[in-house]
Amino acid sequence: MTLYLDANATEPLRPEAREAAIAAMELLGNPSSVHAEGRAARRVLEEARARVAARFGGAARDVVFTSGGTEANALAIASLRRGRRVLVGATEHPAVLRAAEGAEVLPVLPDGTLDLPALEHALSAGDPALVCLMVANNETGVLHPLEEASALCARHGAWLHLDAVQAAGRISLSFGGSGARSMAVSGHKLGGPKGAGALLLAPGQDLAPLIAGGGQERGRRGGTEALPAIAGLGAAAAAADPAAAARLAPLRDAIEAALGLEAAGSGAPRLPNTTCLRLPGAAAETQVIALDLEGVRVSAGAACSSGKVARSPVLEAMGLGEGAGEAIRVSLPWNAPADTAERFVAAHRAVRARLRPKG
């Protein structure tokens, strides 16, 4: 039987989200239409907006729906960087790194957390900045020291953008209390459908659209809203309770303890569901393929770059060197079975025995 441990690539769809998406598919109106069918579609859209705002601590009117986390990050950074220099963490997702092209890169410590003195030094060096940081890393699950980073930004007049794609729903998170100007979340990483994400904005924060169009989303994002995906995102946000996600940590810890392997960033605060395990001498791709044959789905890094055999830039930034090509990402989904650790450990041992050099 398949053991799906690739939640950071995408979470299994939650039943609440599936139900909401399928129900929204049955609606025939365009949410911008003023007639009865249009108004019914509009109600579903606004309910989803309220649910997202409630889960992440923002105002519903400041929630902008997008096609996903990549677009939400790109939209925020393209707009907020105007007239500001950009600082970005070394281990950010490619969506943020590309949107922040030309940015000054902030180093991380060997445990994957942001080097705060380096941030302070960079902030004090020049003009007002936009700082882009992920709440949790997609490969290691490492959490940045956000409170400290946010306080430093405030002290130096810098704006903070948060990529909360991996953290949303897995740890408790208050955008309103974060001091950030904007925060990106993705529906399918919350257990919602693919095809919807959201950008939360601080009250009064202006936003220039990337996709110009019919004036939807208060002129901040054109195009008929992806109603099924958005309704599912709203339901997933309501259902994704960080307290429930916390139960994944003991399963993850049991895997690490049983295998006795080095886990990248394990000394730092992490998401409860993620471990990045290094098997010295074995290429990550080889491990992933071998585990796949055992029915265990994991990955060798970010899903979007799957298939490209390269060393993980995240792990390289943490100073792993050669080891950056030998670590696999194991990320437990919200519905991970209770015997996850036993099954994974058994599969991993079988793979390890097979991969051990002969002679």
């Binding site: 398949t2 799906y4 690739d6 690539a9 995408t10 979470e11 769809l13 599936r18 998406a21 399928i22 598919m25 049955e26 025939l28 109106g29 365009n30 911008s32 239409s33 003023v34 007639h35 009865a36 069918e37 249009g38 096609s67 996903g68 986390g69 990549t70 677009e71 790109a74 997702h93 490619p94 969506a95 590309r98 399918h188 459908p193 693919k194 095809g195 990337l210 996709i211 110009a212 169009g213 019919g214 004036g215 939807q216 054109g222 195009g223 008929t224 809203e225 992806a226 109603l227 099924p228 995906a229 796949d292 789905r297 990955s299 970010a302 899903a303 979007c304 770059s305 799957s306 298939g307």
Partner: protein, 394 residues
């Protein structure tokens, strides 16, 4: 959802179309059985999702006579239009071209007009061509505009308000003759009229799933490969869709779009005949109830399901709609539904403001029944009569 019997008559198929039950069925396994990320090709579930995405890409490509790898999935036609217009202009500018002119029509969808306006702020030179009173572009107007070196021409294949069909092949030939890229917004055309990118000489084509009985939240951009059209992406990230459109692919929506495209290709001709029949039935019933209304836009070169109707008697179309709550129609584009401004498309056809305000857009679709058009015609006639009498009494 209200019971079918109590549902309003839905004649707003230009705003959005109800999903085909076969589309819902095709999507279902991708809500239920396999949720994998189609980029996770290292494992079996991801590869299965990837295969479904590629099958859908094949169906979308086949609808317009393209190769699958010429189809880039987006979140919808608005994004496709932004990507085509801004992407082509920005890429060309990055290559050092001195061409700055981007030619489009005054009657384009708002997202096209806003995209060229955004380009104006970046130093490009938008040119908005007028249309004739029948809604069609005079090819000589395009020829004239192209006498100045131009970067891109964008003309929508079927207008979203009037249903008028432009002679895209002829216009594209003019652009090609001038060495200019040609883009068409085919959101309203795909599945309603045959499209063939090779025969029509198109470089870039925008498509939307929810206008052809597919799901909202998914669309595509056709990007010609031979000779290759180069675009700058609107945003970057994981590098999906050959770097033109980053972001995790929405598998269920893509699969729904593919199924909708597959059905459209097979049933387009059947649909057209049935829809034309409903349109004629509606028109006849409305002629009896509202003597003296006028249909705007060319009567021959238009999609079967569209009627753009100016009501007589000095009425306000929004008041008529309000008095006919059992009918879903619109006064123009859905995006600007709530707007109090009269349609800029109709103004571009030369309608005076009062007439533009008295105009309804009717969109008949695959699932419109004879009973529905009868009910709609009767209720609209009653509503029009009531509003007119009230005006007379004032």
């Amino acid at each position: 959802m209200t019971d079918a019997a109590n549902r309003p008559a839905y004649l707003d198929n230009h705003a959005t179309t109800p999903p085909d039950p076969r589309v819902l069925a095709a999507m279902r396994p991708w809500w239920e059985a396999n949720f994998a990320n189609p980029a996770s090709i290292e494992h079996a579930m991801g590869r299965e999702a990837e295969q479904a995405v590629e099958a859908a890409r094949g169906h979308v490509a086949a609808l317009i006579g393209a190769e699958p790898r010429e189809v880039v999935f987006t979140s919808g036609a608005t994004e496709s239009n932004n990507l085509a217009i801004k992407g082509a202009a920005r890429f060309a500018a990055g290559q050092g071209t001195d061409r700055r002119r981007v030619v489009t029509l005054a009657t384009e969808h708002k997202c096209v007009l806003e995209s060229v306006r955004d380009l104006a702020a970046e130093g490009f030179e938008p040119v908005l061509l007028p249309v004739r009173p029948d809604g069609l572009l005079d090819p000589e107007a395009l020829r004239g505009a192209l006498s100045v070196p131009t970067l891109l021409v964008s003309v929508m294949a079927v207008n979203n308000e009037t249903g008028v069909v432009q002679d895209i092949a002829a216009l594209a030939a003019l652009a090609r003759g001038a060495g200019v890229l040609f883009h068409t917004d085919a959101a309203q055309a795909a599945g309603r009229i045959p499209l063939d990118v090779a025969a029509m000489g198109l470089d870039l084509v925008s498509l939307s799933a929810h206008k052809l009985y597919g799901p909202k939240g998914i669309g595509a951009l056709y990007v010609r490969r031979r000779p290759r059209v180069r675009l700058a992406p609107l945003f970057s990230g994981g590098g999906q869709e050959r770097g033109l459109r980053s972001g995790t692919m929405a598998t269920p929506l893509v699969v729904g779009f593919g199924e909708a495209a597959r059905i459209a290709r097979l049933e387009m001709a059947l649909d057209e005949g049935r829809i034309a029949g409903q349109r004629d039935r509606f028109l006849a019933a409305l002629e009896a109830g509202i003597p003296g209304f006028r249909v705007n836009g060319d009567r021959a070169s238009r999609v079967a399901g569209n009627l753009n109707i100016t009501l007589p008697g000095g009425v306000d179309a929004q008041a008529v709609m309000a008095a006919a709550p059992g009918v879903c129609v619109s006064t123009g584009s859905a995006c600007s539904s709530a707007s109090v401004e009269p349609s800029y498309v109709l103004r571009a056809l030369g309608l005076p403001e009062a007439e533009a305000r008295a105009t309804l857009r009717i969109g008949i679709g695959r699932f419109t029944s004879p009973a529905e058009v009868d009910r709609a015609a009767a209720e609209l006639s009653r509503a029009w009569d009531g509003v007119r009498r009230q005006l007379a009494a004032e």
